[in-house]
């Protein structure tokens, strides 16, 4: 026995060395160093990975991204409160901005940060600003459907004739933003009925890309998503959009809802100057044009920036009038939970 206790001790020593090494490596990797600006990012990670280096080069600031999903990060910021390490919060859709705003955690933005963005995309109290937009669309399979087969309103997808034929992804903030628009425009009962119909008829999938794949492969006839998924795929390789087309509802239908990506600065931030500089840069012509020219194909909100002409122009969308600051995320998730979608 005593002969084998020696290796045990040696093993213990090795373990100890490993722990020490661990601690020093963690420090060495910069895990404990502090950046000039912490951005909680719920916008597409890939887009910010492209943008941030441009800003870092121009400003000389060191930006650290923490990536997540809209509502998860919004609620995390609320939970963190005054202790939040976040300086700036970016979202894909506006309901998540409202959650943080309603908790009183945003600081008012300077005029420079909102000057270039049209008024309807900035809340009246200027606690955050929109910086990109996406249009709700229906995608349809061109082998089984024509534009004429598509419903006039997104509410029609809840009807029994769509049973097993329409895909959507209820768990993402994208779809929830659409529901919040339906709630705002049609009221609680109509929204509950619509969700119950979708639960009954629809094919629930993981995210909007899977919606697009399901439509393209003919698993379903139609799907609910945002415009850019289809355009991006077209632009890159067309592999998931070659047997599908887009149907824009227009006519101020809830299905023509334009969802806004938001940017806000936390009141608890110790780097307010850097945060203001970043958001001002983000809404400025240069960054907006960079976003328009990126793979993203979302609509820039700064009128001086212009998107690829292959994408349906922003001013032809004819969306419903919705106050961006009024969309109610928590009520939407309650309704979706009641409908059995969450």
């Amino acid at each position: 026995m005593s002969s084998s206790s020696r290796p045990t001790l040696r093993r213990a020593a090795v373990s100890l060395a490993a722990v020490t090494l661990t601690a020093s490596t963690l420090t060495g990797c910069g895990l404990f160093s502090s950046p000039d600006l912490v951005v909680y990012n719920a916008q597409h990670e890939q887009l910010l990975d492209e943008l941030v280096p441009l800003f870092e080069e121009e400003s000389g600031l060191d930006v650290e991204l923490r990536n997540g999903k809209d509502l998860e990060m919004a609620n995390q910021i609320v939970e963190e409160g005054e202790d939040s390490p976040a300086d700036v919060f970016l979202t894909e859709n506006s309901p998540a901005m409202s959650i943080v705003d309603n908790a009183g955690l945003f600081a008012e933005l300077p005029d420079s940060a909102t000057a270039t963005i049209p008024d309807q995309y900035v809340p009246a109290d200027r606690t955050w600003t929109g910086f990109l937009a996406r249009s709700t669309v229906a995608m349809y399979n061109t082998d089984s459907m024509t534009e004429a087969d598509m419903p006039a309103s997104i509410l029609d997808f809840a009807k029994p004739e769509w049973k097993g034929r329409v895909a959507f992804s209820p768990t993402g903030a994208d779809f929830q933003a659409i529901v919040s628009a339906v709630l705002e425009l049609e009221g609680e009962q109509a929204t509950a009925d619509w969700l119950a119909g979708l639960k009954e008829n629809g094919e629930i999938v993981q995210n909007n890309l899977v919606v697009m794949q399901s439509v393209d492969s003919g698993e379903v006839d139609a799907g609910i998503a945002y415009h850019y998924y289809w355009y991006r795929d077209r632009e890159e390789n067309g592999s998931d959009s070659d047997s599908s087309a887009l149907h824009f509802f227009g006519n101020q239908d809830p299905g023509a809802f334009v969802s806004i990506s938001g940017a806000g600065m936390l009141a608890s931030s110790e780097h307010q100057d850097a945060a203001e500089e970043f958001i001002t840069w983000l809404t400025g012509t240069e960054a907006q044009q960079a976003m328009a020219e990126s793979y993203a194909l979302e609509y820039p909100l700064n009128p001086d920036a212009s998107l690829n002409p292959d994408v349906k122009p922003f001013d032809e969308l004819d969306p419903p009038q919705v106050d961006v600051a009024s969309l109610n995320g928590p009520q939407v998730t309650d309704l979706m939970t009641e409908a059995g979608l969450l």
Binding site: S4, T8, Q76, E79, G340
Partner: protein
């Protein structure tokens, strides 16, 4: 989050809960049965027959441990999108998890005293009957322990089931948290999940019984005379080759294909290195911490049996069935309220890993300590050795292999952990798992491939360590 009983009832008595309960229970039941059957059959074939190339087959059959379940799910679903729903989830989970039964059963088979079997033969029992009536009953603790691990893994599995589009409580809780973070519905679902876990633990406790399995004296155990397969040799080889092709061949083929097709334009070396270093460092720290924490728990449970010590041991399992996101959220809230400075530090993340994966170390170390006869401690005491010296000179050397195996299992689990890591990691820290997840859930299969490959490579040493522990114990048992 405080909710009244009426609200709670309304949240629990809705159709969605029934749907999730049905999904979770059928999948867990089917996968536990399938992994148990597969694990035992494969173990008996490799250990107790004259199968050609047994050592090589053993290596190949353990290899799926190095392929995380969500990498396996990605491999299948990116090759063929029809692999989803119950069928796909059953297939992928069974192929990923069966080594959790296979390994302990192999270890048990190697330790069994062949004298019992020989007695049965001498009494005129056939080889098959001896296998059924003498060998299989003795495998019970290993089989149950393995099946329990499969069940617990499955209750907590998120990535694979999410990719394969089969909603269970864990994926639904994730969706709920993603939408409401601290919502009542998510809390209610997490409560149901904890109950399921408790049911599983109680069932295992009853089935296990309180027999002891330690054998004193190393000299007597020999390997058993292998059963001759005769004409069954070729069909048996075909079955083994089929299992290996599905469990290792498909993910390997899929990964290589995506590496070639998808990443010719993109191979971000700096990002890959950074994620690799973060993953290895965090997993090492967590594995060491969890193994150290497991020792006193196991010591109490095995050497001081009683209601309280069993309760302590079993309570560690509950966290294992909680999705990482639930533990993550609890630690977010607790750390912000109690010790704000540790919020979003590596220390807090490692603490989360210990809470989540302690049971993996406990299960393994427990198996080791049960094989280490308590009487040796008593002998040491009677010879005047103090408790600490006994632990150092007698017990620790005996359980050292199981400590290594426990640490290896925890390392494997941490390197693929996703949800708690997403929530708690220090700002700017990206691991292989989070990077892989962000690419694969956006269907950027090609971009996900290098991360998947590194995840597999990082898992290989721990898998080899697990295998080597088994071989060591074989050598010890057969001098």
């Amino acid at each position: 989050m405080v909710i009244g009983p009426v609200d709670l009832w309304q949240l629990l008595a809705r159709p969605r809960i029934g749907e999730l309960l049905r999904n979770t229970l059928t999948l867990a039941g089917a996968c536990m049965a399938a992994t148990a059957a597969l694990g035992v059959v494969l173990a008996v074939l490799v250990e107790r027959t004259d199968l050609p190339g047994r050592r090589a087959w053993h290596g190949l059959l353990v290899a799926p441990l190095a392929v995380p379940a969500f990498v396996n799910g990605y491999a299948w679903v990116s090759l063929d999108r029809s692999v989803h729903g119950f069928g796909g989830a059953f297939l992928v989970v069974t192929l990923s998890y069966y080594p959790l039964v296979y390994l302990p059963v192999v270890a048990m088979l190697r330790r069994l005293d062949p004298a019992l079997e020989e007695s049965a033969w001498s009494l005129g029992h056939s080889r098959a009957r001896t296998l059924a009536t003498v060998v299989l009953p003795q495998l019970r603790p290993a089989l149950l322990g393995g099946a329990l691990l499969v069940g617990l893994h499955l209750l907590a599995e998120f990535g694979a089931l999410s990719l394969l589009r089969f909603p269970t409580f864990t994926t639904a809780i994730y969706d709920q948290y993603g939408s409401t973070f601290n919502g009542a519905a998510a809390t209610a679902m997490a409560g149901v999940l904890v109950l399921l876990c408790l049911v599983l633990l109680l069932a295992e406790l009853r089935l296990r019984g309180d027999r002891r399995y330690a054998r004193v004296g190393r000299g007597a155990a020999r390997s058993s005379v292998p059963l001759s397969l005769g004409a069954w040799r070729w069909p048996t080889l075909g079955v083994l080759a089929g299992v290996v092709a599905l469990a290792v061949g498909v993910p390997a083929w899929s990964l290589v294909r995506w590496l070639v097709v998808g990443t010719s334009t993109e191979f971000p070396l700096a990002d890959l290195t950074e994620a690799l270093v973060a993953t290895v460092v965090l997993a090492l720290a967590g594995a060491i911490a969890a193994t150290v924490a497991a020792v006193p728990v196991v010591w109490l449970a095995v050497r001081h049996r009683g209601r309280v010590s069993t309760l302590i041991e079993r309570s560690t399992y509950v966290a294992n069935a909680l999705p990482g996101i639930v533990v993550g959220l609890a630690l977010v809230v607790a750390s912000l309220r109690l010790v704000p400075p540790v919020y979003q530090t590596a220390a807090l993340l490692v603490a989360a890993y210990v809470i989540l994966f302690l049971p993996r170390a406990v299960v393994t170390v427990r198996a080791g300590l049960e094989q280490a006869p308590a009487v040796l401690d008593d002998v040491a005491h009677s010879l005047g050795t103090g408790p600490l010296a006994t632990a150092r000179r007698v017990t620790l050397p005996l359980i050292a292999p199981s400590l290594g195996a426990g640490a290896a299992l925890v390392f494997l689990a941490i390197s693929t952990e996703l949800t708690a890591t997403l929530m708690l990691s220090p700002i700017g820290t990206r691991t292989l798992a989070t990077e892989f997840w962000s690419a694969s859930s956006e269907l950027r299969y090609g971009a996900a491939a290098p991360y998947a490959l590194l995840l597999v490579l990082v898992s290989i040493p721990a898998t080899v360590l697990l295998m080597r522990q088994e071989r060591l114990s074989l050598q010890e048992a057969t001098p």
